[in-house]
Amino acid sequence: PHLRTFGDDFQTCKVRGSWPLIDNKYLYVQVTNSPVLPGSLATATSKLTIIFKNFQECVDQKVYQAETDELPAAFVDGSRNGGDRHGANTLRIVEKMPGQHIEIQARYIGTTIVVRQVGRYLTFAVRMPEDVVNSTEDTENQGLYLCLRGCPQSERIDFRTFRARATESHVATGGGNRGSVSVEAFTYKSAMVKCKERLPVEDLYFQSCVFDLLTTGDVNFTLAAYYAFEDMKILHSNKDKFHIFERTGDLTPGNSAPGR
């Protein structure tokens, strides 16, 4: 999937299997990513587990779990708030669109989470205060915490090499029909035209959309990129950073920190 970190780095990562997206004193979020095509390096999120750790007289520990075609509007214990403590209502789940869009408000830590299902996969977005972000248990140990430290170098996919190959070959890998998902083979040019319908600015959300159409042929990924951008606009506090672009000439593969 494509990851925009708390520091506004933008990366496309393989990270197949389960990885910790957030791991701090208050919150643990784990994503499970599956290949979008048998044997493909490209993966997308098919399962999400969120653990709200118990906190003073506010909330008991609560676990939220979502997977493809199962986006519940309740925690795994059936409740929709923080339990029986005095401040329990400062944690609550709000169903925005049944089966497609839920929001979890954790007021006791100033945090808002948005989970969607778009096509066959899940998207995740979070807004969190800086001091909560940095409240990691073990500061010296550089443990995995993708939202804070990004993907390990070995897990990154570099747009540029991929794009060079895609433009040379002129035909994308996607194509044919897979189950309930209608897919078509895109060329680099037709993928750009399709993404432009929803994402007129050719920033990294646009680039992600093109990448996804070329690797899967599944137009739902156009919506996934669009909603990711919309959720970011709602959750990000600095509108000057809404659009971020590929940094030209950056040597680090797969890392598109915000360009000028």
């Binding site: 999937p1 970190t5 059936g78 409740s79 401040g87 609550r92 969190m128 990711a228």
Partner: protein, 119 residues
């Protein structure tokens, strides 16, 4: 599976209002609907649990016995709370309101965003 919580809440609210005859006490129907709503929320975690399934059937029987409609209020009308967001009890401890407790000490917190999507 928290079905017993639903059961106890229902019996606690209806202990004084239960009518044996078919005439329906509106508050009894309201309590039944609240009970049904509570039981529905436990569906995922209680699937296969005998207590859950007997509660579902019991509610249906009581609903038809008392001619209660499935649609309708699930709680007695409360006097409007003055707090803007009735979901959040205004008496939650201060520590449970991050922004309020933060404001007291320093400038407003700096928020950051992280997102994961696509393939």
């Amino acid at each position: 599976c928290k079905i017993l919580k639903c059961n106890s809440e229902f019996w606690a609210t209806t202990s004084g209002t239960h009518h044996s005859g078919p005439e329906r006490a509106p508050e009894f129907c309201t309590a039944l609907r609240a009970y049904a709503h509570c039981v529905r929320r436990t569906a995922r975690t209680c699937r296969g649990d005998l207590a859950y399934h007997s509660a579902v059937h019991g509610i249906e029987d009581l609903m038809s016995q008392h001619n209660c409609s499935k649609e309708g209020p699930t709680s007695q009308p409360h006097p409007r709370t003055s707090t803007p967001d009735s979901q959040e009890r205004s008496d939650s401890p201060e520590i449970c309101h991050y922004e309020r407790s933060f404001h007291k000490h320093t400038a407003p917190p700096n928020y950051t965003h992280c997102g994961l999507f696509g393939d």
